[in-house]
């Protein structure tokens, strides 16, 4: 019941959020120099002419006042229509479905790999804290955390594609082709997660109840799996949730390097092309995903830590 109330409250909150972010995004695209007509006509470096530019702007409706353009877009969204791409005239929904699906797959696989790697490494590091494994993992996590994804991707390509010839450079959606994009995103993320998980587990392990359990003769592994993991999981969920949202919109560099046609690449191209219809569609998707992830995070938080009351928290 409480969860139901929370979901209803969130849906109400999301409406002003949508209006606010789409208005701001539309405004930003509008005031940025250049427009979709100019970008479209000059995309291959052919000289522009004012006459053709004016005619194209008229045809695209770009000569209308800002508020009319935004209003048109906004009310068509209310009718369930995200509009048409200014670049190629395709329906925005059609244009976004496939890339969004691909990015969700990429982000989900990345998240799964990152969680498995970082949780396992953090668990054994804490179990053998200050030991050799712990020290090595801290250095490795520091390196992964410091290296940008594109550097990791080029290094992975060099060693795994060129030297070992185990994977293709071109992702092209195949299972084998997914390995390098996923690793390029997962390794830096694992570095960040490892440090977070390790620190949460160490904090939990220093609590008095752990000392009591030890005094009662429980083994370290039992305490770790039985109590510490559960205690440390709750704070970690927020970070994981936010990281998933970031992956959906922030994997553009990796998508470009591996020729993986995801939503991030589509959004970047749309921004360059001043294709506000696609940019707005992307923003709506991101807002929805972030809201859903936050909602799931809060629900999971309350499940993992019953002391937290979902209807009393100030979200």
């Amino acid at each position: 019941m409480k969860t139901g109330k929370l979901i209803f409250k969130r849906i109400l909150q999301i409406i002003p959020l949508y209006i606010g972010i789409t208005f701001l995004t539309f405004l930003l695209v509008y005031i940025t120099p250049g427009d979709a007509a100019e970008k479209k006509l000059s995309s291959q470096g052919v000289a522009l002419s004012q006459e053709i530019l004016d005619a194209t702007r008229e045809k695209m409706g770009l000569n209308r006042p800002f508020i009319v353009q935004y209003g048109d877009w906004f009310f068509s969204v209310f009718r369930g229509d995200l509009g048409y791409s200014l670049k190629d005239g395709r329906p925005v929904t059609d244009k976004m479905i496939a890339p969004f699906g691909r990015t969700v797959i990429l982000a989900s696989l990345t998240m799964a790999v990152s969680l498995v790697l970082s949780f396992a490494a953090a668990f054994f590091s804490v179990l053998h804290r200050s030991g050799f494994f712990d020290r090595v993992m801290r250095v490795i996590s520091f390196i992964f955390n410091s290296l940008p994804g594109f550097v990791i991707s080029v290094l992975l390509m060099y060693f795994l594609c060129i030297k070992v010839n185990a994977f293709p450079v071109i992702s092209n959606g195949s299972a084998k082709g997914m390995v390098l994009p996923v690793l390029s995103l997962a390794l830096p993320l694992s570095g960040r997660f490892f440090r977070q998980f390790r620190s949460e587990m160490l904090e939990e392990i220093s609590k008095p109840y752990v000392a009591e359990m030890k005094m009662r003769g429980l083994k370290d592994i039992t305490i770790m799996t039985g109590s510490i993991l559960r205690g440390a999981a709750a704070p970690v969920i927020t970070i994981v949730g936010l990281a998933f949202g970031t992956l959906l919109g922030g994997s553009v560099v990796i998508e470009t390097i591996f020729s993986y046609p995801g939503i991030g690449k589509l959004a970047m191209d749309a921004i360059s092309d001043r294709d506000y219809a696609v940019v707005q569609g992307f923003v709506l998707i991101c807002a929805t995903v972030y809201s859903l992830v936050n909602l799931c995070t809060d629900i999971a938080y309350s499940v993992l830590d019953p002391r937290v009351k979902t209807d009393e928290r100030d979200y």
């Binding site: 120099p33 002419s49 080029v154 060129i162 293709p168």
Partner: protein, 532 residues
């Protein structure tokens, strides 16, 4: 920049470890028959088949720098890639020597009054569905193009009439000498408009290949057109991967995942040159021009003259590592309308010009006049290597005592070109769109044109442009174009820096991938061979 630097470092490492040797491999460009003056014809096109009529088969894997959301050749610039994919053909094509060569057309002839063009189609041209191309279908295509593509809406003003099954005429309100050049644009590709069900995903065209699978803005797969009208098609098909990242492209090439790419960067060129047995590198000065506008509204004549005497195109080209050819004028020096001259780099003459105009060196070693330091605002955008051009220019000007600062914008058309707020404005565009100089000169030098933003004003130039607009004799057109460009050079209104090279890299003996053409849109053909 940081991203690029990182990638370059990683690739340099790759190159150093993986490859040795440094010999280039640049075969001679092919030749094409000159189209002549106002009448062109070709009776040999159907003879360009493999002697034994056999097909070697195989699939070519290539990288494409762009990928569009539609294959409809009449929309936007989609035809540029349809032509590259070997799917579409126009009535005429551009030869390697910038001449217009008949393709689907047999000939194009202008009437004595210069107002009517008569186009005769070849007898044996068929679409991939086996239907034959006739004059009625050709006219329908031109009408459709004019209707759906703003850039060609001027064809609405022309009257088109079918004379017989293979002949049609185009009548223009004024003399229109560049009709055949227009008909050679990829956008003038012929589609079977009556029998195409999905123009965006599967247009029925006349090229040696037809679409097999199409992913909007992604991978495109083509297969052999069994009904190809112009003889044997060597390959079974080709796959084009949309690849934007240069490092990924070079690794895919090294890995053998792709066998062909165009637009190689300087680091890729270095990499491939190191292994000439595996990679063939073809470099052709192409049509994309880097140039700058000198603002006559803010700069004295002597300052503009000094800038042009100081900027060293050879030095800039060397910094760009073989991706450009230093320019004298806006067009390739190989073309008839590329015969212009400009003064050699001469820093002493430049400083003498400045000093003659009252500029003196101040304590900081920079020129000033009336107590005000000369500080040029160089505007550029970070694309087409203009960032490198701007930095090298700033360095060269600084060495000669001219202070300058750089202003980078994301969109030049909406910023410094729109406001005129610059001293030197860098820009890049296609100067030679289809073998004729009028389009570029009219766009940049004509009073009131889109790029008329630097205060260049010449009655003589306007008069010559009017003559060029209506002149039908190609040699006279070249003469007029050379005179016009020379006026712009002598006036120091512009500086033409370099023409981008079209650099094609082919692996393991692949040939016939448009490697000798200076135009970006030619690639896969019936003659493309895997060389195995």
């Amino acid at each position: 920049m940081k991203k690029k630097t990182g990638m370059c470092a990683a690739l340099s490492l790759t190159a150093a470890i993986a490859l040795t040797g440094c010999n280039g491999n640049t075969p001679d460009a092919g030749q094409n028959v000159d189209a002549g003056n106002d009448v062109v014809s070709d009776n040999t096109a159907t003879d360009t088949t493999v002697a034994d009529g056999g097909s070697e088969g195989g699939i070519l894997y290539a990288a494409a720098n762009f990928a569009y959301s539609s294959l409809d050749p009449h929309k936007e610039y989609y035809a540029w890639y349809d032509t590259l994919y070997g799917m579409t053909e126009s009535l005429f094509v551009m030869g390697d020597d910038f001449s217009v060569v008949p393709k689907l057309a047999e000939s194009g002839e202008i009437s004595d009054d210069g107002l009517t063009w008569t186009i005769v189609l070849k007898d044996n041209v068929t679409f991939s569905n086996g239907n034959s191309l006739n004059a009625d279908m050709a006219v329908k295509n031109l009408e459709r193009l004019a209707e759906i593509n703003e850039r060609f809406s001027y064809f609405d003003e022309f009257e088109m009439e079918v004379v017989d099954d293979k002949t049609f005429t185009i009548t223009t309100p004024d003399v229109y000498p560049t009709m055949l050049n227009d008909l050679a644009y990829p956008e003038f590709a012929m589609i079977d408009v009556d029998n195409t069900e999905d123009f965006d995903a599967a247009p029925v065209c006349t090229g040696p290949f037809k679409i097999k699978s199409f992913e909007p803005e992604g991978t495109v797969e083509v297969e052999k057109n069994e009904n190809y009208w112009d003889g044997n098609v060597n390959l079974d098909g080709a796959v084009f991967y949309y690849m934007q990242d240069a490092d990924a492209k070079s690794m895919a090439m090294i890995n053998g995942e792709i066998q062909a790419e165009t637009g190689a960067t300087s680091s890729e060129i270095e990499l491939y040159n190191a292994d000439p047995d595996k990679y063939a590198l073809y470099t052709v000065p192409a049509t994309r021009l880097q140039f700058y506008l000198l603002n006559e509204n803010t700069l004295d004549d002597e300052v503009r003259e000094a800038v042009n005497l100081i900027v060293d195109n050879e030095e800039i080209a060397s910094f760009l590592g073989g991706t450009t050819t230093p320019a004298v004028g806006p067009f390739s020096a190989d073309s008839a309308y590329g015969k212009v001259t400009k003064p050699a780099v001469d820093v002493s003459a430049a400083t003498a010009a400045l000093e003659g105009a009252g500029y003196t060196l101040n304590a900081d070693g920079f020129y000033e006049k009336d107590g005000k330091e000369l500080d040029l605002n160089i505007c550029y955008y970070a694309s087409r290597s203009l960032d490198t051009c701007a930095i090298v220019m700033q360095e060269e000007l600084g060495r000669a005592g001219i202070k300058s600062h750089l202003t980078v914008e994301e969109d030049p058309d909406a910023t410094y070109l729109a406001t005129g707020d610059f001293d030197i404005a860098l820009y890049c565009m296609i100067a030679d769109r289809a073998g004729d100089p009028y389009y570029f000169l009219n766009s940049t030098l004509r009073e009131g044109s889109y790029y008329d933003v630097c205060g260049f004003d010449s009655d003589e130039c306007e008069k010559l442009l009017d003559e060029l607009k209506y002149e039908t004799d190609n040699s006279k057109r070249a003469e007029l174009a050379n005179k016009i460009v020379q006026i712009a050079i002598d006036d120091n209104a512009f500086g033409y820096i370099g023409l981008f090279n079209k650099t094609t890299v082919l692996r393991d003996g692949v040939t016939g991938y448009g490697e000798t053409s200076p135009f970006d849109f030619y690639g896969l053909t019936a003659d493309t061979s895997l060389g195995k």
